[in-house]
Amino acid sequence: MSLHDIFALLIGSLTLSTAVMVVFSRNAVYATIYLLLTLLGVACEFVLLQAHFLAIAQVLVYAGSIAVLMVFVMMMVGFGEEHLEGFEVPGGAIIMVFVFGGILVAAGGVGLVRGAPLRVEAPTSVTSSVPTHQKNAKQKKAQAPVYGSIKVVGKHLITHGILAFEVIAVMLLMAIIGIMMLLRERRVPVVEDDGDL
């Protein structure tokens, strides 16, 4: 059990518990806070997997914008559940067990038990970045760039993933325009009563 694994376990359980709290909390704002925490936990997991850039992206996009978006929406549409039960389980808890257990067991448990455990080369340190004490520029250059660094991901994005990059850009544009169309204030048109039509 290396430090790496301990960290992974800790953060993992934290993330899971906050996720459960998201689903089962009554208060919408609480749920949003828990969601935020869950997202941050996942970002930490990304770091543990040497995908540093993605971790930052996750924080920026998910935690930074989507969670905030949720809060904004809550301000616009009200918090719901003021006088109602928070949730119900139609069909009984059995269905829940079935769904939950089904996903875990069917997809995960079997795979994990049957298949060989995933093993990768362990990183030299927890965060495994370029050691800072290497001040020599030559030594810096000699170090191979790490798997999840901005350099590697960025280069790949611009060269091999350029199509996806552009498509994402267009999609974002479409989303913006679409949302504006959906939500603009509509003035009710005055119906001219001509009498003939």
Partner: protein, 679 residues
């Protein structure tokens, strides 16, 4: 026999067909007013052209030697399946050529008459369209090269009969009359079809093609095959007997012999020229032609032939008796036709094919004359048909009177007119071929024929005019007037034919006296061969037979003249008395029995019609509703249930949709895991 290809044979039935289509379509485009005159010109013109072509064909045939008198026109293969190869082809030999001339000639005359008769009718163009179809179908029948094509013409004639008899279909009774004629014909046609099937089943050779054409069929009757075909196969009759009997079933249906004649009286619902065409044309020509065409078959089926002759004789007598006391003009003539048809079948039944065909030809002349004359009378009397209300028309409708007189003289067999020669031939042949009983029945029928026709003549034309105020109010000057020229001129033509036509078939005996031969017989012998006489059983010679016929004529006519000429009113009063149901006595009962046509129609109704109604209404209706409707609705019901189930999925409940997705996802994952297949 060698055949010559004559390629324009196809136009003879085709032209009337084109005329019919034209007349049928034109009113749609030009409106009824304009199309009237055009319709009559087109119809009569086309018919006349067909007649001219038939004449031409006939004269061309005469240039050939007797063993080469055969034209053909093969248009192509119609049915080709297995070893069955039926051609669409026309074949004109000595018999067909005479038939063609007869059909086109009589139909042209009747069409000219119709122009006058139907001038007021709103369905003018439709009428001429149907008539064109009729001529075309009849020509197809007599010119067909093979049995199946002939059957097509046969059925076509049935169809057009239905269309024409039910011409005034807005009247429910008349429409039903059309349906009756078609249905009864159909029943007979079943027999015809069975005959065709039997022929195919037993006569088709193993190899090569079988074409149902008459020539091929005749060729198949080799001596070896004959031995097999005349062997008793079922109930003691040979195959040929059965085939012959089945064919006769169809012929009896179409030609209104016992017991299928009931459709003919109801067919009087049609316009009178149609009635004339049916009587003179279809039923006689189609039926007798069919037997004559299949002469090679009937020559070897003595039982079937004898059946034909017996049925013919019985029908002749039976119908003649019924005709004795009828009052409706068209009805009376209908029974006259049925009776004369019986004579024709006597002729072809005993094997005297040319005699039968000759009587058919002379019957065509005098019967169409009589029926058209009746039409003229009816028009003159403002559509009154009861002869009790007529009388004395010889003064007011002179041309009609004289032509009708000629027709009557012809049908009773007055010496010199066509009926004398034709019927005399038939009777003599019956005797000569060794069937004295059949001769006797026919002889009786001739006497009765003389009686009723003379009665008709006296009551309608002679004596005093008996119509009452109700009718005379509608007649100009209170008296019937002569019909227009368009109607009387055809009558005159037919009267001349009725007189002259008979001399063509004068028997050898009489011909010997004046130096002419039996042209008709000689012409036909190219097909039928010379008839052989059964020497031993001839009771008496032809001279005696002829004298007996004349004497019978005088007895019958004399009786009628005695009753009806001397004092028509008294005779009618006596008849009316006998008609009353309360009058006791044998004479009264017999009279009423005959007057009601032996209650045959009522018998049919009880035996055939009512049970069928009951069966369909009570029995099959239930089956129809439960099973058939149930089955047809079944797919609809199944789909309905299915969709109702499917609509449960579309209940607008978002939760349900989400659940569906989740369960689907889980199932998919489970399945993938179990099968352990990677994506």
């Amino acid at each position: 026999m060698q055949a010559t290809d004559v390629n324009f044979l196809r136009y003879i039935p085709l032209l009337p067909l084109i005329g019919a289509v034209f007349n049928g379509l034109v009113p749609l485009f030009r409106g009824k007013k304009h199309s009237r005159e055009m319709a009559s010109w087109v119809a009569c013109g086309v018919s006349a052209i067909a007649f001219v072509l038939s004449l031409y064909i006939f004269f061309r045939l005469t240039h050939f030697s007797p063993d080469k008198r055969l034209f053909q026109d093969i248009m192509g293969t119609w049915i080709s399946s297995g070893n069955l190869k039926i051609h669409f082809a026309f074949r004109v030999d000595v018999l067909s050529s005479v038939m063609m001339m007869l059909v086109t000639g009589i139909c042209t005359i009747i069409q000219i008459y119709s122009v006058g008769y139907m001038s007021e009718d709103p369905g003018y163009s439709r009428y001429f369209s149907y008539i064109g179809l009729f001529v075309s179908a009849m020509l197809l029948l007599v010119m067909a090269d093979n049995l199946v094509l002939m059957f097509m013409g046969w059925e076509g004639v049935s169809l057009v009969t239905y269309l024409l008899v039910g011409f005034w279909f807005t009247n429910a009774e008349k429409a039903r009359a059309g349906a009756t004629s078609f249905i009864v014909n159909r029943i007979g046609d079943l027999g015809f079809l069975i005959g065709i099937f039997l022929l195919f089943a037993y006569m088709a050779p193993e190899t090569g093609t079988f074409s149902f054409s008459f020539r091929d069929l005749a060729v198949l009757f080799t001596p070896e095959k004959l031995v097999e075909l005349t062997r008793p196969v079922f109930l003691g009759f040979s195959l040929l007997e059965w085939v012959g009997l089945f064919f006769f079933l169809g012929i009896a249906g179409k030609s209104a012999q016992l017991p299928f004649y009931i459709w003919l009286p109801t067919a009087s619902a049609g316009p009178t020229p149609v009635v004339a065409m049916i009587h003179a044309g279809t039923i006689a020509i189609a039926g007798v032609y069919a037997v004559a065409r299949l002469h090679f078959l009937y020559a070897h089926a003595p039982v079937a032939s004898l059946t034909i002759a017996s049925v013919g004789a019985c029908t002749a007598l039976f119908a003649a008796i019924i005709a004795m006391f009828q009052y409706e003009l068209k009805n009376l003539l209908t029974f006259a036709t049925i009776s004369q048809l019986g004579f024709m079948f006597v002729g072809v039944g005993v094997g005297a094919y040319s005699a039968g065909v000759f009587h058919m030809m002379s019957h065509a002349f005098f019967m169409s004359l009589l029926v058209l004359g009746a039409g003229s009378i009816i028009v003159g009397m403002n559509y009154e048909q009861d002869i009790r209300k007529m009388g004395g028309l010889n003064r007011s409708m002179k041309i009609t009177y004289f032509t009708f007189l000629f027709g009557t003289l012809a049908i009773v067999g007055f010496p010199g007119f066509s009926g004398f020669f034709s019927r005399g031939n038939v009777l003599w042949m019956a005797l000569a071929k060794g069937h004295p009983f059949i001769w006797f029945l026919s002889f009786l029928a001739s006497i009765v024929t003389a009686f009723y026709m003379t009665r008709l003549l006296c009551l309608v034309f002679l004596g005093e005019f008996r119509a009452d105020r109700k009718i005379t109010a509608y007649l100009p000057e209170g008296e019937p007037t002569e019909s227009p020229n368009l109607m009387t001129v055809p009558l005159i033509c037919l009267a001349v034919l009725a007189l002259v036509g008979g001399w063509l078939g004068i028997s050898d005996l009489l011909g010997g006296y004046i130096g002419t031969k039996n042209y008709f017989y000689n012409w036909m012998s190219g097909l039928f061969g010379k008839t052989a006489f059964e020497g031993s059983t001839i009771l008496f010679s032809e001279n005696v037979s002829m004298s007996l016929s004349v004497m019978g004529l005088m007895v019958g006519a004399g009786a009628a003249l005695f009753f009806y000429f001397t004092d028509g009113e008294k005779a009618l009063k006596m008849e009316a008395e006998l008609l009353q149901a309360e009058t006791p006595g044998f004479k009264g009962q017999m009279f009423r029995l005959v007057f009601h046509k032996f209650y045959i129609e009522e018998l049919y109704h009880a035996i055939v019609v009512k049970p069928v109604y009951l069966l369909s209404k009570q029995g099959l209706w239930v089956f129809d509703v439960l099973v058939v409707d149930g089955l047809t609705k079944l797919p609809g019901r199944v789909i309905h249930l299915f969709t109702r189930g499917v609509t449960l999925l579309q209940n607008g409940n978002v939760k349900v949709y989400l659940y569906g997705m989740a369960i689907g996802l889980v199932s998919l994952l489970t399945w993938l895991t179990i099968t352990s297949s990677p994506f």
